[in-house]
Symmetry: C2
Subunit: 339 residues, 2 copies
Amino acid sequence: MPELRKDPIIDRWVIIATERSKRPFDLGIHKSLIRSGGFCPLCPGNEDKTPHEVFAFREPTTPPDGPGWRLRVVPNKFPALISTGELRRISEGIYERMNGLGVHEIIIETADHHADALSLSAADYRDIIIAYRQRIRALKQDSRMHYVSVFKNYGERAGSTLEHPHSQLIALPVVPKRALEELDGAQTYFHQKGRCVFCDIVTQEQADGRRIADENEHFLAFAPYASRFPFETCIIPKQHAASFEDADERMVEAFAAIMNTTMKKIAVALGNPPYNYMLHSSPFSRDVSPFYHWHIEIIPRLVRVAGFEWGTGFYMNPTPPEQAAEHLREVADADIHGG
Amino acid sequence: MPELRKDPIIDRWVIIATERSKRPFDLGIHKSLIRSGGFCPLCPGNEDKTPHEVFAFREPTTPPDGPGWRLRVVPNKFPALISTGELRRISEGIYERMNGLGVHEIIIETADHHADALSLSAADYRDIIIAYRQRIRALKQDSRMHYVSVFKNYGERAGSTLEHPHSQLIALPVVPKRALEELDGAQTYFHQKGRCVFCDIVTQEQADGRRIADENEHFLAFAPYASRFPFETCIIPKQHAASFEDADERMVEAFAAIMNTTMKKIAVALGNPPYNYMLHSSPFSRDVSPFYHWHIEIIPRLVRVAGFEWGTGFYMNPTPPEQAAEHLREVADADIHGG
């Protein structure tokens, strides 16, 4: 059974993923991507190779777990966490652990094994965003879960081990450290100034303009002022909104549109790089609506994180965000909307 | 000029390293390691390719910046930070930045270009540790500096761009986030229990034994209870000591001995993997001696950090630390002491 272990000094949890246990020799070399030509468990026709789907967009009358879908959500066959039972906290001397309770799902984004940021459409992103929203809404009903992390790893250097376009979702029984840090920072700002710090960021970025990569009526895509990585990009609703899963159809459309253009701009500017994106939204167990504001972080994986970053939590970024945003703005519409 | 920019929400600083500025096309592919056969600016005979040395172990009567050394410390030719001037804090609306003040040095660990964890000796580690100690003591005299990060990146996957054995040192005008988190956690524990949390960890690990990888009279090498990574290893003095740079000759000898055996055990068990190590010691500007306890973190780079870790600060580790420590204990003395 997997375990959740807490660092005894800082408020950081680790999943000891025993279901994925590796002997030293398995660890010596990074697993290679399942390449085109190899067998793909996420492709149409191989639905029996995944656990039963929990959500899908499919042609009318096609039954679950068969072909006819354009998006499927399935439990991870090798989950990092297990969804059965109640949460139990266990002390071991000065240490603390919990049983590895949680939910781990795969969002199979399209039936097309070879789709990437250049070929996915705004309609595809709409499907993907609605799937995220539906799964978060469903998992929010489970009182054992306090937070859902939605993320995508694209490319081997970004940690992906499957080539077929997919993202992942992990529901957690605790609010993770990174979310707590953002919540605490935003709450402190709100107490001091009476305003949402993210709303103030949107206002300042719009007035300044140098770090804006893209925008539409409802969303802003910008390079954060203190970007840790070259071409790090944040997409955020212009109007205050704490929880992603509360987005209505109009917001889903606008979010899909800017995800599509921003991911294409990054792909064109940087040659379809490996990337991670991570949704940051409210925890379930705490009302943070006055001061928190959901957003998505996109990180092209161009530079390696090394000892300095691990040792200090300081980052070193060779590309000023103003320069990165300028490059993204300069990607011509023709390049991203053409065939 | 480089800049230090502060994240407006969480207490995290980023160096915008303009001296190392990269255009998109330079970022597209990870820089390759300078391989044997290529020109090495750190090798004996090429001393004029580095800035003037600030410390060295050399044969008697050999002048600085020429051959005859077994270890050299030089300023980084492409520093992330600049050591001249005073610290200036500048507001930009809701954002905050500082000029990029700091010191960035390279510790060239040996004249042997091909040395690695298997060939470095306890005597080599003694030189390296004394060099770290001497440079930290010197930089501590500079009242503009508040913290020194000492770290090593070994291997391309661990972020190294030079093959010649070297570690690095960055002196910072602020205490970085990761250090603050540890200090705050340790201080809270001290206030609650009246004891150093690291001393309690040493006591519990010695009583338990399952996570111990190696030990000697003065130091313990163990796999942390909540290890984020497979074969993550912490080396810590058994007796309370807040600041690494206060270590006396006896402690330096014992630290060199356990660095040598632990790094060799990791190299034998995992096939000379890429790794990072990071020294964690006290900041200069605050008395933390009752509750802080220096140590070194060693992370073999076997698995990739991906969207889940970036998004949540949660980690997923497929190797229980008890299993990792057992593998390291089983590496026979003959394997690590033999020629």
